[in-house]
Each structure stands twice: as C-alpha cells, then as structure tokens.
C-alpha cells in the first residue's frame, strides 16, 4: 500500500515562506493498494494537485475510479473538491463517503458548496458519475481489495475516523478530534472554554471513555496512525472548545494501540516549519519515554510512504 500526503494543514490553507517545507494545503491523503484501488481521505485544497496528477492517468480518458472518505464536512476537509479535475470528466466514477446526518443528506451538503453565489460551476454540471454513501458510526465495509473500518470522533458536529487495510498493512486516520476527556462534542455551538454546557457529567464521561477505547481499537497494531495534533499543550488550555488534540494525546492513543508509526497531522495555520520541527522534537522525546517502539514523524506535503506489500 502506498500513502501520499497532499495536504497536511488544518483550518485554512496558508501559503508563504513560513510553511514551504511542511506545506500549506489543507487535509488530503491518498491511499492506493497494490492492486490499484484508490482511496482519498478528505478533500482539502491538497486534493487539487492530486486531481491534476490523476488527470495524467485513466481519469483523463474518463476511466478513473476513486473513493473519497470524508472525515467531516468542515471547510478545510472539503474545500478542494470543486477544484478536483476528475469530477469534470465524463465516465469517471467517484464515490464519496461520510457520516450520515439527521438534517441534510450528503449529496446536498456537497452540492451546496458549488451553488451560486459561491461557485460558478454547479454540482449538477459535474460530468463524472458521483455517488454518495452515508455511513453510520462504526460502519465497516469493503472497497475492492481494501477493508475500511470507522469510528466516531470527538469534534464539533462530529467527525469520523477511518482505518484502511490492504496488502497486509493498515493506516488509521484520526482527524479532527479533541481529546476524550474535557468536553463531549455534539451539534451545539460552544462559545468558550468554560461554557457550562461543555463540562462532561458522569454519563458523558462514560461516552468519552468508550469513544476513546474504540479509537484505540481502530488503531490497534496499525502501521501508520495519522492524528490531528493541531495544538500545543498551551494552545489546548486556551481553546479546548475548538475540538483538536495535542501530540501527547496522539502518542497516548498510538502507544496504547501499539501502532508502529505516528504522523503528526492537521498542523495549525500559524505553525511555521520551524515550529512543526520543534513540535516533532518534543513529541519524539515524549515518545521515547512513553511509547518506546513508536516511530513519530510530522506529515508534510509530498510525503510518500510504502506500507506492507507494495
């Protein structure tokens, strides 16, 4: 299996010299099995360049097929989709997966991104054959030779974690999520860290504990865990209500799951290359104490990893 990072940033794309090495595009990871099954996790701005590359293959002649697993529909995970060239070529088959909502079906969430007055090309006029699959929490399914497992994450409006298995390797994608301790996120808006609504009672604590256990199970023995580490410890203290984790949270989960490698991911827009370096160094020294066998890296645009049989 081959894993490629096309966008590693959270919140919004951040061009400029400060982010040149790790990259400024928002979340997008490509996973391709040895048999050629193509999975794309999230459609942040990174998916634009992936689309351009795909148009140099069978997608150009309308014979491409890809499966897009969407963690959640916050902008930084979908804003590249209108610029994903394979959508505009007749014959391509694209399957979009995301968590089912009570209020709105998935097709309409995605279609509304391309509505006037926001975008000049309506979703109806995309030429590819696009189908949507709405997922329940914990759904497990197969895509050709690839097995996909999911579990719910702790994020405003709820996000989905994926584990993609093929070729004897497994990669888990845990973004976006808060730690499973201080706040149980749901549909409501939290205006600040001390919002009284946010403090978990006994029942909420139990739900967070089982959510956390399910995430650890999803990562069990994974070759690679890609984890939302948007915040430093200090930033988390200020913004626990934003729904993002610290490297220490990722190390705890990946360590408990005895995963082989952890990729810090969803870097904050303010984080310069030097600051990501520093965050990685800090995470490695913590890892050396608490999860000795865990290899820790920081995801960057263009990072290409081969896992299992290739």
């Amino acid at each position: 299996m081959r894993v490629r990072f096309w966008g590693v940033r959270g919140s919004l794309p951040v061009p400029g010299a400060r982010t040149e090495r790790y990259g400024g595009n928002t979340s997008c990871v490509e996973v391709t099995s040895a048999a050629g099954t193509r999975i794309i996790i999230d459609g942040g701005t990174g998916i634009r360049r992936l689309g351009k590359e795909l148009m140099r293959s069978e997608f150009e002649s309308g014979k491409g097929q890809a499966h897009i697993l969407v963690s959640h529909t916050h902008w930084d995970h979908i804003q590249g989709l209108p610029f994903f060239a394979p959508f505009y070529r007749e014959g391509n088959r694209l399957f979009v997966y995301a968590r089912q909502r009570d209020d709105q079906n998935l097709r309409s969430v995605f279609a509304s991104q391309a509505d006037a007055p926001f975008f000049p090309v309506s979703f109806q006029s995309t030429r590819a054959n696009v189908s949507f699959r709405e997922l329940h929490d914990g759904a497990k399914f197969e895509i050709e030779d690839v097995r996909v497992a999911t579990t719910r994450l702790n994020h405003p409006h709820i996000a989905t974690a994926y584990c993609v298995a093929a070729d004897g390797a497994r990669v888990a994608y845990i973004s976006d999520t808060a730690p499973f301790s201080d706040i149980l996120f749901g549909q409501e808006f939290l205006s600040g860290p001390s919002s009284s609504r946010a403090r978990p009672g006994k029942a909420d604590k139990a739900r967070l504990t089982s959510m956390s256990a399910a995430v650890v199970r999803l990562c069990e023995g994974a070759d690679l865990v890609i984890y939302d580490t948007m915040f430093t410890a200090e930033e988390y203290r200020q913004f626990p209500h934003f729904g993002h984790s610290r490297p220490s949270d990722a190390i705890a989960v990946a360590g408990k799951a005895e995963a082989k490698r952890l990729a810090l991911f969803h870097h904050a827009p303010d984080r310069s290359d030097a600051e990501v370096d520093a965050m990685l160094a800090g995470a490695r020294s913590q890892g050396a104490r608490e999860a000795k066998r865990l290899d820790i890296i920081a995801a960057f645009e263009g990072l290409d990893l081969l896992l299992g049989q290739v």
Partner: protein, 283 residues
C-alpha cells in the same frame, strides 16, 4: 491613502515554493485612509494575515471599525471571513458593502458559509463583533469619513462582480477583479469608474493565450488589464488575481509583457507592477 495587498491569487489558495514571492493567498486588499479609516476589499484567505495585523491595534481592544467591500461571493473572495480575527472581538464594528442583489443575499452568504456542517461557529452572529450589511447599487455611493466609494457591476461569466472606486482628498483607487469583458472590451461605465485612477488594481488571471482557451470563465487577460488602464488613463496598473497555477516566474513574465504592451500602445507613462502579498503603496 495607503494600499496593502494581503492576497493576490484567484480561484483557490496555492501554497508552495513556486508562489512564495507573489503569494498564494486569495484576494484581499486593505486601504488606510488619510483620516485613519480602514477599508477592506474582498475577504479571500489573505484576510487572515490582515486580521492578525489589525488585532495589534484598536481591533484587538474591540475599538476597531472598518468597511468591507465585497466584489462578489465566489469562494476566493469570501473564504477568509471565518478566519478574520477582528470579527471575534466584541466591540468591533464592520459594515459589509456588497452587490445590488440586496443585503439579504449578503447575510445569507455569510450565514451559509458559517453553517454548522461547514464551520464550528455556526452563525456569523456568534462571532462577537457587530456586523452590518449594506447593498450598494450602481447609482449609489457610500461614504467612509471623507472617502467616497462608488461601484460598477462588471460581467463575470454567468454572474457579475462589482468594481469599486475609492476617492479621498483628490486621490483615487480603482479595483476591478474577476471581470470577463466580452467582445467590446470594458463598458464605458467601467472606464468612467477607473478614469484617471492613481492605482488601478485589475484582474489579470491569464496570459492572452491561456485566456483564449478559457473565455467562458469570465476572467481577464493581460490584454484586458492593459486596455482598461490605457482607456481610463490610469496612472499606475497593478496586475491581480493570478491563476492558481502561475508560478512567481510566470507572473514576472506577465509584468514584463504588460510593460511592453503599454509602451507599444502609447502608455509609456503608465506604471505597471505585479501585486504581491505584503506590498504597500502610498497614493
């Protein structure tokens, strides 16, 4: 008045080593007026860095006031809204001035961008600052301090985008992003709006060759920008809204070629430059 560019790119931000000099953020320009007033034109991702700069002064204390001119609501002109820090400081006061379709539409645009499925804040009313909407018609005018703002709706593919003129103390700035003029070139009303501008910031998404393949996109070529500057007798032309795939080297090429075109067509007196993130100009 002073003009600063915070985002100069069209369509979608394009981070990476190839865009570091001109910048990869989408459209956002700020003006500081002679009396200290602040006008922001468009709110692409460049607005995030503008917000960080503004928070250092009165906007950080909830004492800021600014007018935001919105050319149209395509993503690359509004996607910085949710990340504009001063919107989150209670006490700040913003007036958003946009198209003639009405203030309801402006409000709907902001609300939909903030909707729960897309952004955790869920409503612009949760942001903290006071945000008001004002629809500007073609005949209308808005005043900010001593400055007068007027607009013209340019064709932009299947829709329209407002071009703006901001005039204060005898100095004029014109901003025309996202315009596809069609066969006859700029309308007379557009030229009137740009007339004699000390700085004309003009859409220059494409080279003439790339433009010929993408006419229906409703965006301008280098030729269009040069022609607008010549006809309007602008003093200075800033190329703007570059295609997301153009590298710094490509934009250098646009500027050089634009210089040559101006010289050839009797515009040797018109200064030309490529708008770049962080560039400030005094008018």
């Amino acid at each position: 008045m002073d003009v600063t560019f915070w985002g100069v790119r069209g369509s979608i931000p394009s981070p990476g080593p190839a865009t570091v000099r001109y910048g990869g953020n989408t459209a956002c320009v700020s003006l500081r007026l002679g009396d200290g007033g602040i006008i922001i034109i468009d709110c692409g991702t460049g607005a995030r860095n503008l917000g960080i700069a503004l928070l250092a002064a009165e906007f950080g204390k909830g004492e800021g006031r600014a007018t935001v001119l919105l050319s149209h609501a395509h993503w690359d002109h509004i996607q910085g809204f949710p990340f504009f820090g001063p919107f989150y400081v209670p006490g700040n006061h913003f007036t958003i001035v946009g198209g003639s379709q009405g203030s309801d539409l402006l409000e709907r645009v902001l609300e939909r961008q903030m909707a729960a499925q897309f952004f955790p804040v869920q409503s612009y009313r949760n942001m903290g600052a006071r945000i008001e909407m004002h629809a500007l018609s073609e005949a209308g005018e808005v005043r900010v301090g001593r400055a007068r703002i007027s607009a013209h709706a340019n064709p932009h593919g299947p829709t329209q985008a407002l071009a703006f003129r901001v005039e204060e103390d005898g100095k004029a700035l014109a901003y025309a992003s996202d315009v596809g003029y069609g066969e006859g070139g700029p309308a007379d009303a557009a030229i009137r709006l740009y007339r004699g501008a000390d700085l004309l910031i003009h859409d220059c998404t494409f080279t003439p060759e790339d433009h010929a393949l993408r006419v229906t996109r409703g965006l301008a070529s280098l030729d269009d920008a040069v022609e607008a500057a010549l006809r309007a007798q602008a003093k200075r032309l800033a190329l703007f809204h570059y295609d997301q795939d153009y590298s710094d080297h490509d934009v250098d090429g646009l500027v050089l070629r634009g210089r040559r075109l101006l010289d050839e067509r009797g515009g040797a007196g018109i200064e030309i430059l490529g708008a770049a993130e962080g560039l400030s100009l005094a008018l």
